[in-house]
Amino acid sequence: MHAFSSLRAAVTGGTSGLGLALVRELTRRGAHVAFVARTPERVQQIAREHPHTHGIVGDVARKEDIYPIALQITGELDGLDVLVNNASSLGPTPLRLLADTDCEDFERALAANLLGPFRLTKALLGALSASAREGRGAVVVNVSSDAAINAYPTWGAYGASKAALRHMSAIWNEELAAEGVRFLSLDPGDMDTPLHALAVPDADATTLKQPEQAAVEIADAIEASLPAIAGLSRRSSAASSRAAAEGRAS
C-alpha cells in the first residue's frame, strides 16, 4: 500500500523544476495531486502526461486568481491535506543590485513569493483545518532558499521576499499549532531548474542538485509531519528527519 494513498495535495508552480518533480513524487507515493501554473498549454501538457493529476491554470501573484484556484483545488480533490507553496519569482533577471531594482519588480517578487502564499494559504485554511480536525493532519510547505537567510548581493528582491515567507511560516506554525495545521519552511538547495538557470546562466549543471532528489526529501518531510501517515508507514529516512527538524527550526 502506498504511504500517501488518500492524501490530497496541491502544488503551485507545478509544471517545471521542483514543482513538477514534486507532482511526480507525490503521485508516485499514491497522493491525489492538483497542481497550479500560469501557462494553459503547459498545464494541459503536464495533466495529459500525468492522467491522475488535476491541472489548474492560475497565477498566485494575482489576487483575482486566488479564490478560483482554491475552489478548483478543494473541489477537484474533495478537500486538502497538503499545500506546497512552490511557485516563485526571482525578481528582475538578469539579477540586479537592490539599488538598481525597480520598485515594480520588487513588488512583483513580493506578490509571487509572499502575498500569493499568504492569500492562497488563507483561502485554503478552512479545508486544511477540517483535515486536521478529522485526524488526517494538515501541512503547508513553503519552499524557501538559503537566500532567505544569507545576504547575497543581487538577490535582493528574491532574498527579501523569501526571508519574509520564512518568517511568515514560523508565525503561522505558532498560531495554528492548536488547530493541528503544521507549517514547514524547507530549503531544497541549489537545483538544476529553469529558475536557477535564469539566475545563474553559466552555472555548471553537474554541480547542482537534481529537483527529483529535493522532491523526495520534501515528500519525506511531509510524511513525517502527518501523524496518520507517519503512524502507518515505518519509512523514516535520515533525510526526512533532517528536513522536518529544519522545518521546526525555521
Binding site: 495533466a47 488535476h54 491541472g55 489548474i56 491554470v57 479564490y67 478560483p68 484556484i69 482554491a70 475552489l71 478548483q72 478543494t74 473541489g75 477537484e76 480533490l77 474533495d78 478537500g79 486538502l80 483561502a123 485554511l125 478552512g126 479545508a127 483545518s129 477540517a130 480536525r133 478529522e134 485526524g135 498560531e175 495554528l176 492548536a178 488547530e179
Partner: protein
C-alpha cells in the same frame, strides 16, 4: 428590522439576541457570544465553501439572455459536478429584486444553454417554468474550471455591491459544495475558535450543501429547502457522544447544521457519521433529538429558516423576538445580526441547573 446591505461578515457593532429555554429575551452584543456558552458545550458549524453558483449566459434555442442559479446537487462527490438542479431567470442580474425578475424564455428538456465557458443541456423541467435539472458538458475538471472562472456568488438586491468569493467564504470554508453561504458561521474567526478552546467549549464541523434560500416566486419558495447532501465526519459524531455523556449542550451554528444532524440522528439521538441527503423539513412539529441550541441569523417570518426556528421555541416567543429586534434595529439577511436560541425542551434541565448553582 432592516436589511444588512454591506458585505461585512463581522461588523464590530453586530448584535445578538439570546432567547433562553424559558422564552426570556436578552439583547446583547455579538462579541459576547461565548459568555452564553459553557465549558463542555459543543459548537458545530457547517464548513462548506460556497460555489459561485450564478452563471450568466443565454438560452441557445431563442438567444434569450438568462441567469442560471445552481440550487442543488445529488451528492458531494467531486465528480458529481455534472448534474444540478437550477433556478433560471430571464435578463438582468442581482440588482433587480428576484420577485421582479422577468421569467426565462420557455424552457424545455433538451434545450442547450451557453454559460460563458460552460455548455449545458436542460435534462428536465421540474414542474415549474423556472426550475430545471441540467447537465454540463465536458470533464469534471473543465466544469470546475468553468464555474470557478465564470460563476459569481448568488446575490440578492439588498446588497448592491457585487460579491466576490472572499465575501461569502467563511474562515472555515473547506469543500465548495454550498450554493449560498452557511452565513451563521460568518460570526466565527480564528480568534473566536481559540477563545472557545481556552474556555473548553468544543468545536466540530460537518459539510452540508446549503441550498438556495429564496427564488422570488411564491410557488417555488414553498418547495424550499430542496434536498441537501451532507457529510458528518466520524470525529464530529464522536464529539457529540462525548458531549452528551458529559452533560454538555450541542450548539448548531446555522439551520443547515440542524438539518444535517437531525436527519442523521437515530431515535435515541445518536448521530451516524458519513454521507446522507437531508430531505426532511424542520418546523414546529419537529422533535429535536440532537441539537440543544441554535445560533442563527435574523430571519423574516415568511422564510423556511424562520420555520425551522419554531422547532426550538414557540411561535409567541418568536413573535416577541421579532418585535423586539424591530424596535432595536436588528439587521436581517446573511450579513446581519444573530440570534441564539436555547431549545424549550431544555427548560427543566436549565432551571435545575440554575437552582443547583444557587445552592452551591
Amino acid at each position: 428590522m432592516i436589511a444588512a446591505t454591506e458585505p461585512n461578515q463581522r461588523p464590530a457593532d453586530a448584535k445578538l439576541l439570546v432567547i433562553d429555554a424559558g422564552g426570556q429575551l436578552r439583547p446583547a452584543r455579538r462579541v459576547e457570544l461565548l459568555d452564553f456558552l459553557r465549558a463542555g458545550d459543543l459548537v458545530i458549524a457547517n464548513d462548506a465553501a460556497t460555489l459561485p453558483a450564478s452563471l450568466s449566459g443565454h438560452h441557445v434555442p431563442t438567444g434569450g439572455e438568462i441567469e442560471v442559479r445552481l440550487a442543488g446537487r445529488r451528492s458531494l462527490s467531486p465528480e458529481d459536478v455534472v448534474c444540478f438542479t437550477a433556478v433560471v431567470f430571464g435578463a438582468g442580474d442581482f440588482h433587480t429584486p428576484t420577485e421582479h425578475r422577468p421569467p426565462p424564455p420557455a424552457l424545455a428538456g433538451g434545450d442547450r444553454l451557453a454559460l460563458g465557458p460552460l455548455a449545458a443541456v436542460i435534462t428536465d423541467v421540474l414542474g415549474h417554468p423556472r426550475l430545471v435539472s441540467l447537465r454540463f458538458e465536458g470533464r469534471p475538471d473543465d466544469i470546475w474550471s468553468g464555474i470557478a472562472r465564470h460563476g459569481k456568488p448568488l446575490q440578492y438586491a439588498h446588497v448592491q455591491t457585487p460579491l466576490a468569493l472572499w465575501d461569502v467564504w467563511t474562515v472555515i470554508a473547506g469543500r465548495p459544495v454550498a450554493f449560498e453561504p452557511p452565513s451563521a458561521s460568518f460570526v466565527l474567526d480564528w480568534r473566536t475558535l481559540a477563545a472557545m478552546r481556552a474556555r473548553q467549549i468544543g468545536f466540530a464541523t460537518l459539510t452540508h450543501a446549503a441550498g438556495i434560500s429564496s427564488t422570488g416566486d411564491e410557488a417555488l419558495d414553498a418547495r424550499l429547502p430542496f434536498d441537501e447532501p451532507y457529510h458528518i465526519p466520524s470525529a464530529t459524531s464522536a464529539a457529540i457522544d462525548r458531549t452528551r455523556a458529559g452533560g454538555g449542550r450541542v450548539v448548531a451554528v446555522g439551520t443547515t447544521v440542524v438539518r444535517a444532524l437531525e436527519h442523521a440522528a437515530d431515535v435515541c439521538g445518536r448521530v451516524k457519521a458519513g454521507y446522507g441527503i437531508a430531505t426532511t423539513r424542520i418546523d414546529e412539529k419537529t422533535r429535536l433529538r440532537v441539537v440543544d441550541v441554535i445560533l442563527s441569523g435574523v430571519h423574516e417570518p415568511a422564510t423556511s429558516h424562520y420555520q425551522l426556528l419554531r422547532a426550538f421555541t414557540d411561535s409567541e416567543t418568536l413573535v416577541r423576538a421579532t418585535e423586539l429586534m424591530s424596535a432595536l434595529d436588528y439587521r436581517t439577511h446573511e450579513f446581519g445580526d444573530s440570534v441564539l436560541i436555547v431549545a424549550q425542551r431544555l427548560r427543566r434541565a436549565e432551571a435545575l441547573r440554575h437552582l443547583q448553582r444557587g445552592k452551591g
